[in-house]
């Protein structure tokens, strides 16, 4: 079957540290863009509108006040131990994004700052590389201002024994592509609290690599996708070392005429015993014309591992609705209450309150009892 050839909007010049040969780079990107694996990943979201966004000029995010121990630099030259090389096959668009920007933002963090690092994106951001030093601990808040089309590529390197709590609230409704790539060293810990609404087009690519023993990744995600909106979440969790672990929970509310795609892949490589990985994707359809495509995938090449995955697509439990009704809560209110409950159980972390208010869930009743 003939495919429409996907291509970058214009020929980007890769920086020398990324590739010595521009044509070779181009070919590799275009080949990756048109590979079978890649087409599968973009089955339910058109990639061309996103490729077309890569060329747009970057807008500097609002960095607020940098916490102690966090240094930010705009760099143009070579990156030592860059996490960015050899990413073309897995993330051709993200690799290309690097080429369209003459600068990238390198954030180096160390120590144990008490204040969070806040990144407030205001449009297309130049690629960001965040490096957290060994045995350091950081909280990262990512937010999005201005309801304009935007894309971000964020590459995170977690040093041995470090931990990052990453809270991300994506509530803009324009076209939005978020690419996130996390590398974990020995005993590093990564926790993502992901909250979003649907959008004209929202695509969230999350690639997490547990590269060394003892590394651990946790994702808790809640999304509310309204009528006519689109959300596509593509998650890859690579376990490349023994004794690494991951837990992922994704709750999505899908209103009538909304479209949600979820693809969660756990890949446990050879010779990685004692890996424990779980993945749960629950989708609540709130209308007869909601579209949900979900595919949890396990690829396991080691015997001695614990793995559980599951995906559900359902509507509100009639027993729950009746229980509410029997206490006097009318149908529409009961449905809203139960939908909120579903989101609430996956809304966590430092930006949870803000996310709940974006979801329209009253938080004032949560006064101390």
């Amino acid at each position: 079957m003939a495919h429409l050839e996907l291509a970058l909007a214009s020929k980007p010049e890769p920086p020398r540290w990324l590739s010595d040969d521009s044509d070779q780079f181009q070919d590799a990107v275009n080949q990756a863009l048109n590979s079978k694996v890649h087409r599968e990943r973009w089955k339910y979201t058109k990639s061309q509108p996103i490729l077309d966004m890569l060329e747009a000029p970057a807008v500097a995010p609002n960095w607020h006040t940098l916490p102690d121990g966090v240094v930010l630099r705009q760099i143009t030259q070579d990156l030592q131990d860059a996490p960015l090389q050899n990413q073309i096959a897995d993330a051709p668009e993200a690799s290309s994004a690097l080429c369209y920007h003459d600068k990238l933002t390198l954030i180096e963090a160390s120590g144990n700052p008490t204040q969070p690092l806040i990144i407030e994106h205001r449009g297309h951001s130049a690629p960001i590389v965040l490096k957290l030093a060994a045995n350091s601990h950081l909280e990262l808040h990512e937010m999005y201002a201005d309801n304009v089309d935007q894309h971000q590529t964020l590459w995170i390197e977690l040093g041995a024994g470090s931990s990052l709590t990453h809270a991300r609230n994506s509530f803009i409704k324009a076209k939005h592509w978020q690419f996130l790539h996390v590398n974990l060293a020995r005993d590093a810990s990564y926790v993502l609290h992901n909250h979003s609404c649907g959008a004209q087009l929202r695509r969230q690519d999350i690639q997490i690599l547990c590269n060394e023993p003892g590394s651990n990744a946790t994702i808790t995600s809640a999304s509310q996708v309204g009528e006519g909106q689109h959300l596509d979440q593509q998650i890859t969790l690579e376990h490349r070392a023994a004794n690494s672990s991951s837990d992922q929970v994704f709750h999505n509310i899908v209103e009538d005429k909304a479209k949600v795609t979820f693809n969660g892949r756990i890949h446990i490589h050879q010779h990685c015993p004692q890996v424990a990985a779980t993945l749960q994707n629950k989708n609540l359809a709130m209308g007869d014309n909601a579209t949900i495509n979900t595919k949890p995938e396990l690829e396991i090449y080691t015997d001695d591992v614990t793995c559980a995955h599951g995906a559900t697509v359902g509507q509100l439990d009639p027993q729950h609705v009746f229980y509410c009704a029997s206490r006097g809560i009318p149908l529409a209110e009961a449905r809203a209450l139960l939908a909120q409950a579903f989101l609430n159980t996956a809304t966590t972390g430092p930006l949870a309150q803000q996310a709940l208010s974006e979801f329209g869930i009253p938080t004032s009743d949560k006064a101390d009892v």
């Binding site: 729950h320 009746f322 009704a325 029997s326 006097g328 809560i329 149908l331 209450l337 139960l338 949560k366």
Partner: protein, 247 residues
């Protein structure tokens, strides 16, 4: 005037006829115990009174406070003052008990054009009720019945009963799965609820509960009909002789 008047009701669930001409009249101030073998229609009666979808009254009428409520939605029945304590209360993670109770109270107040309970007064009342039922008030912060033991779920049903103060309480095997201490706590709660203006329909398998909640009437339900009625002594007789002699 009777509070509840079930007149010659037949009802079906999933195309199966379960109730086959049931009559039951409950006046204010009365406690009626409904006993009977498995599959006799006890829980169907409870669900018919609460208006559970899928339970269809095919003939006869169900009157509450003089109104035929057969076509009323479950929440409208709750607003009018009918309360069902569930045999298997559901767990709703993500909604705290406190939020759920407040939403229930507010919905009822709104429907009845009453003023909403002040939040501080409500919290105080809910905490004190929880304590009186031997429930740690921290339960109120947790999801509705989330991770509760069977006994805790039943006590939570009684907490809701005491807070919502309905006119008719229908308790569907509230004693099942309770140890003797929990049974006494639940019974004490129901006795606290009883007064001259409300009524209780107590569905149970065992006479044991009736040692603590003394009924005014005991009915035996078998094959969708009430086949025997009497006072509390009937329950003792059933305990000795079983149901076989009646059916």
């Amino acid at each position: 005037m009777s509070l509840l008047n079930v007149k010659n009701v037949t009802a079906k669930v999933a195309e199966q006829n379960i109730l086959k001409g049931l009559n039951l009249e409950v006046k204010a101030g009365e406690v009626h115990a409904i006993m009977g073998p498995n599959g006799s229609g006890k829980s169907t009666l409870a669900n018919i009174l609460a208006g559970k979808p899928g339970y269809e009254v095919t003939s006869g009428s169900v009157e509450f406070d003089g109104h035929d409520i057969s076509d009323w939605e479950p929440h409208e029945r709750a607003h009018a003052g009918i309360f069902l304590a569930f045999q298997y209360p559901v767990e709703i993670p993500g909604v705290s008990n406190m939020e759920f109770l407040k939403a229930s109270l507010d919905a009822k107040a709104f429907a009845n054009k009453q003023e909403q309970t002040n939040a501080a007064a409500f919290i105080k009342q809910a905490r004190s009720l929880a304590e009186s039922l031997d429930l740690n008030p921290d339960f109120l912060k947790r999801g509705v019945n989330e991770g509760f033991s069977g006994g805790e779920k039943k006590r939570n049903e009684i907490l809701q009963l005491l807070l919502l103060q309905p006119r008719l309480a229908v308790l569907d095997e509230t004693d099942s799965g309770l140890d003797i201490d929990a049974l006494q706590v639940v019974a004490e709660g129901v006795n606290r609820f009883r007064n001259d203006n409300n009524g209780v329909v107590l569905i149970t398998h065992y006479q044991r509960l009736l040692d603590y909640i003394v009924p005014d009437y005991v009915h035996v339900l078998a094959d969708g009909k009430i086949v025997q009625s009497g006072d509390k002594s009937l329950a003792l007789e059933l305990e000795k002789k079983g149901y076989a002699w009646l059916t």
